[in-house]
């Protein structure tokens, strides 16, 4: 067991922005791996035939979204010294570290700890405010919103209730030219809502919106 090795676990909160918006989850994993190596922090590797560095990213962010609230857990040697600045200067420009804290080695995996997430969605094309309000209200007022989702593998279709994933939707006060929407969804394992689901309901293509995750809240 790798737990036998002395180690400590760090939880890093970071923003993902600019060019990094277009980098997917798997590639982000490699970016963290190399950045941590550059920063000289000795990563702990899993045991087994194909040892992997122990890095866990909280919740996969869809391609194109930026975020102010991403989390990654990394396991490193206990004696390693770290700092926000030391890590920051080894990261590509689109990742900004806001804090690092040590967490309990036995704490459950980050991916299982999500509770809800908040988003700010900017609509890049002009859209009348009342039309927006009406649409959001109709989604909020619906009792259920049964939808179909194709599974990636074998193209199996699964039905789910979009309404149960939505916690809040409302238009934000105008600030600048574009309308913005506040969205809050559940972010639990197997029950994760996402802004693109709402954009689809409103027939707004994803490239016509700028989506930012503003908060990811873990279970208490």
């Amino acid at each position: 067991m790798s737990e036998a090795l002395p180690q400590k676990r760090l939880r890093i909160k970071f923003a993902k922005e600019n060019a990094l918006r277009y980098i997917g989850h798997l590639d982000l994993h490699h970016i963290w791996q190399r950045s941590i190596r550059r920063a000289g922090l000795p990563l702990i590797y899993s045991q087994g035939f194909h040892p992997q560095p122990k890095i866990q990213i909280a919740s996969a962010l869809p391609l194109g979204f930026s975020s102010r609230a991403e989390f990654v857990d990394i396991w490193i040697s206990p004696e390693a010294e770290y700092s926000v600045e030391g890590l920051q200067k080894n990261l590509p420009e689109g990742i900004k570290v806001s804090s690092i804290e040590e967490v309990d080695l036995r704490a459950p995996a980050l991916q299982t700890q999500g509770d809800y997430a908040e988003y700010e969605v900017t609509i890049l094309d002009e859209i009348p405010a009342d039309e927006l309000d009406l649409k959001l209200a109709s989604l909020m007022d619906a009792e259920s919103l049964p939808r179909e989702k194709k599974k990636k593998k074998r193209g199996k279709v699964r039905t789910f209730d979009l309404r149960t994933l939505i916690l809040d939707l409302h238009r934000l006060p105008l600030d600048g030219e574009n309308e913005r929407i506040y969205m809050r969804f559940t972010a639990r394992e197997g029950a994760t809502g996402r802004p693109d689901m709402i954009l689809k309901e409103m027939e707004i293509p994803i490239e016509a919106a700028r989506v930012e995750r503003t908060a990811l809240v873990f279970k208490a």
Binding site: A19, L20, I23, D27, I31, R34, S35, R38, N90, E207
Partner: protein, 638 residues
């Protein structure tokens, strides 16, 4: 032209509609962002294929490093969009832009294109077109960037002569500075494009095609290539660096998956083996090595600055590097980190190679690659790559015994005078190799067989020979497919690809029209098997009343004047011809580390050699000038 901000605004609206948008946004670690407004000379470095391939090109890494070391110049990068994004760019009028500043390529002073292989020619035109630039050199003026090219295709720049303003022949590390300085001077003097081109033609190693003209003989071969104006050299000698400069170590680390995504250190340039089919072997002479200490330092720095978990030492023949054993030993001492994997390409077929690989092996890689290239003694003598079957089989046995389960064998068909018996020998030998594996480790033993088709290259001993016809290639490939049997995985080159490569590599100036027509009719990404448009190429030849077989299947006369006759790699034509004749006689020429065969490198570069005595160069020492002069004098007075 759009501003960088306008380009970024358009990108935001389209990037999520294409595959892998990470290719098009930059933002990588170690990318260099300089102040656009205060820097005098701006260079865009372009690899004319997609990001995933181009990001690992070592030539551009070196130039990026060299240019960005200057305070008065900046270098940024550009790659070709894949088909989906090309459509989107054209539809939304987004010009080809550089990843760092998002400036359109048209805003740069110089666009430097690396063209390491011929199947990038149509892509090069596509890139110029996407950048909104006139394709032909003659149609560009002071308001356009200077288009320079370099890379291995520089040994026969003629097929691209109409499109490239200046082609660099040879190594780029020093000449790029000369070019940057000349462009800066010309720009501040408000010179005409013509004056700039004339000035560039004075720089050693720089070929300005528009200042030369070609006369043809009645049979369509070249009679002469001559300067059109006075004051430019009648022959362009390749440029080399006397000593390899410190290698780049601050590699850009791509944010997305790419090929050869690892830290690299070039340990040695050139090769002393003299395999007659090998373009690099004849055109990158002399052999210059870096010291083990310099290689290790560079490796250490690049791993620290990139965080890569993979390191590769580059050369044409790792086994021939003088310090190879010492290097392998030192690598293990310096990098005790067991997560780092180190690779050595192009090892000789001998058990010492296994010791080297085992010495490096932290994590056992599954495959071991060997390149015998030919399977009969006769063929091996012809191509001058001599090993015995016994050597190959012994090495193969040991590879399997020492724990590798897969061997990959590289062969080529289409060597001069090859018969079906020679091809059948590939089958026999491969089966024997697999048998060794089965005997050693049973059914786990695997053999992958890669059989390319030889395309004759300019400036090599085989520049006189013809490429196999479709019928010959098909017969040979059919034989391989039929006789190989189970358990051996075969990969081969499609004959159409070999033909395209062949007519482009030994083409003359008339091919510029063909390339342009082929591109206009949709040819691009010619190196991608699934994008091949052979018909389009044939139509382009027909359109210009040219016959592709003139370039592919016509054996050259012994006294033929080649389209690249005015471009010199310093290796004498007489030497190459003698080597070709020896090939016909089945004569081997040993490694020139053992004996100098006077290929022409040393007389051409003897000043450079004199300035760099000692072990760095593998050519013999040159006596200091003074002493020799005195001797000459005394000889004369006697």
């Amino acid at each position: 032209m759009l501003t960088p901000n306008q380009i970024e605004a358009r990108l935001e609206r389209v990037l999520l509609t294409v595959q892998k948008p990470g290719r098009y946004v930059g933002g990588e670690y170690n990318a260099i962002h300089k102040n656009w407004d205060t820097i005098q000379t701006k260079v865009a470095l372009l690899f004319p294929d997609i990001y995933d391939l181009g990001i690992s090109n070592v030539g551009l890494k070196i130039l990026y490093d060299q240019i960005n070391q200057r305070d008065d110049a900046l270098a940024e990068r550009a790659y070709l969009p894949w088909l989906d994004f090309e459509d989107v760019m054209r539809e939304n009028e987004i010009p080809l832009y550089a990843l760092e500043s998002k400036n359109p390529l048209a805003n740069f002073d110089i666009i430097g294109i690396t063209i390491p292989y011929e199947t990038l020619y149509t892509n090069t035109l596509n890139a110029l077109d996407l950048a909104g630039l006139p394709l032909k050199s003659a149609d560009r003026g002071e308001e356009h960037p200077l288009i320079i090219a370099g890379g291995h295709t520089g040994t026969n720049p003629e097929p691209m002569h109409a499109f490239i303003d200046a082609y660099v022949v040879g190594e780029g590390e020093e000449v790029i500075h000369d070019i940057v300085e000349e462009v800066a001077r010309s720009k501040s003097a408000n010179e005409s494009r013509a004056a700039l081109l004339f000035a560039l033609a004075q720089i050693p190693g720089v070929y300005v095609p528009s200042l030369y003209e070609v006369e043809y003989q009645d049979d369509g071969t070249v009679a002469a290539t001559k300067p059109k104006v006075e004051g430019v050299p009648s022959r362009i000698m390749k440029r080399i660096v006397a000593k390899l400069p410190p290698p780049p170590t601050n590699f850009i680390v791509p944010n997305i998956k790419s090929v050869h995504n690892r830290a690299t250190v070039e340990v040695m340039r050139g090769c002393t083996r003299g395999c007659r089919f090998c373009h690099a072997g004849f055109t990158t002479r002399p052999v210059r090595e870096r010291s083990v200490e310099e290689v290790l330092d560079a490796a250490e720095k690049s791993i620290a600055s990139t965080g890569y978990e993979e390191l590769s030492f580059l050369s044409l023949s790792s086994s021939d590097y003088t310090g190879i054993a010492e290097l392998v030993e030192a690598v293990n001492e310096r990098f005790p980190d067991e997560k780092l994997s180190v690779s050595l390409p192009s090892l000789r077929i001998e058990s010492v190679s296994l010791d080297l690989m085992e010495g490096l092996k932290k994590r056992r890689s599954a495959g071991f690659t060997l390149a015998p290239e030919a399977a009969t003694e006769r063929m091996r003598r012809i191509i001058n790559k001599f090993i015995t079957d016994e050597q190959l089989l012994t090495t193969a046995r040991e590879i399997y015994e020492r724990g590798w389960t897969t061997i990959k064998l590289y062969f080529m068909i289409g060597h001069p005078s090859e018969t079906l018996e020679d091809v059948e020998a590939i089958v026999d030998l491969s089966q024997k190799v697999l048998k060794e594996g089965r005997r050693a480790i049973g059914g786990r033993a695997k053999l992958n067989l890669s059989v390319g088709t030889f395309a004759p290259k300019p400036q090599t001993p085989f520049q006189w020979v013809s490429v196999d016809t479709f019928e010959q290639i098909n017969a040979k490939q059919d034989l391989l497919k039929k006789k190989l049997g189970r358990g051996i995985r075969l990969s081969w080159t499609e004959p159409e690809d070999t033909m395209i490569e062949s007519f482009l590599s030994r083409g003359d100036r008339r091919l510029s029209d063909v390339i342009l027509s082929a591109w206009k009719n949709g040819a691009k990404f010619d190196a991608w098997g699934d994008q091949r448009r052979y018909e389009t190429w044939m139509n382009a030849f027909a359109e210009h009343d040219l016959d592709p077989t003139f370039y592919t299947h016509r054996p050259r006369r012994v006294d033929e004047i080649f389209p690249w006759e005015h471009i010199s790699t310093a290796v004498h034509k007489k030497f190459i011809f003698r080597d070709y004749q020896q090939s016909l006689e089945g004569k081997i020429r040993v490694d020139c580390r053992e004996q100098c065969f006077a290929c022409g490198i040393l007389p051409q570069f003897n000043d450079l050699r004199r300035e760099n005595p000692g072990k760095g160069w593998m050519c013999p020492e040159v006596k200091p000038k003074k002493i020799r002069k005195m001797k000459d004098l005394s000889m004369e007075t006697l």
